[in-house]
């Protein structure tokens, strides 16, 4: 059986489309556990900020450290599951890269907040949260529309809360924005 140039081009296009879909699926699945994890952390930490403001700083710090450690572990596990010739050393390296990447972003946030000096905790919380949701949108431009949509919905919910919710703002942020991230993470896991 011989095929002509047009048929060959169509076949290559079909191969590219199938491969792109698989790549997108894998990226979504890599992102999903991080999104669920940090959605849960937002939910818990913001709820504490609302219900027990005195404990807020300690709880945010503890949960952020817990989240960073869990992110390292997730990165380590993901690498172990897919890497050919994976060794404990390469898995450790991958885990550290994820954690370092996270710490770089957190360091930027701390530096930005020091420069911008928000006047209250609401502004600080909104800035930090929106930074991540915009990051999801930016990454989504490359990886896939679902990630972009999750970032967009979470950003709109944050802005709605900042401008429209005046009492129990942190509880709103925890439940709605944290919930949106967790739901988004579950959505990313679906085909």
């Amino acid at each position: 059986m011989e095929i002509n140039k047009t048929e060959a081009a169509l076949t290559l296009a079909a191969i590219d489309a199938a491969g792109a879909r698989t790549t997108q699926l894998q990226c979504y699945r890599r992102f999903a556990p991080f999104m669920i994890l940090w959605g849960a952390i937002w939910l818990l930490a913001n709820s504490v900020s609302d219900l027990a403001p005195d404990q807020s700083g300690t709880v945010w710090l503890a949960l952020t450290l817990l989240g960073a450690t869990a992110s390292w572990w997730i990165g380590w596990r993901q690498h172990a599951a897919v890497a050919e010739g994976s060794t404990p050393r390469t898995r450790l390296d991958q885990g550290w890269r994820w954690m370092l990447c996270f710490l770089v972003i957190v360091a930027f946030q701390v530096a930005a907040l020091a420069v911008l000096a928000p006047s209250d905790a609401r502004q600080q919380d909104t800035f930090s949260s929106m930074f991540w949701t915009f990051l999801y949108m930016a990454v989504g431009c490359w990886i896939g529309w679902r990630l972009f949509a999750i970032g967009l919905v979470a950003t709109l919910l944050i802005l709605l809360g900042y401008f429209g919710v005046h009492s129990h703002y942190f509880l709103y942020m925890g439940c709605v924005s944290g919930g949106a991230l967790m739901a988004g993470g579950l959505w990313l896991r679906r085909l």
Partner: protein, 95 residues
């Protein structure tokens, strides 16, 4: 031309599995959804590819639930790469 790979459904199976990272595997049900084919159709084509040594089918249990996971073999990856090169050569040869 590798006519075994060139069949449309098998070509999509190979392309999908070829895009998996490293040693990653895809569950049978996920592959079925990605390709929009029936269980029977997918099973038949996978058996053909397995007999040719292009795919590896691993059957395990997650709890009490059976789980079938599929991946490309090294021979499958090589055959697929060769087929893609064959298609590219046709395009380039035609000018």
């Amino acid at each position: 031309m590798n006519e075994l790979i060139h069949q449309p459904t098998r070509l999509k199976i190979m392309a999908t599995l070829n895009a998996l990272r490293g040693a990653a595997k895809l569950e049978f049900t996920e592959l079925r959804k990605l390709l929009s084919v029936t269980d029977g159709n997918l099973g038949t084509h996978l058996a053909t590819l397995e007999n040719a040594g292009y795919v590896e089918i691993e059957k395990t249990f997650v709890g009490k639930k059976p789980c079938t996971r599929v991946s490309l073999t090294r021979a499958g990856r090589r055959a697929f790469d060769t087929h893609i090169q064959y298609l590219r050569d046709i395009i380039h040869a035609s000018g």
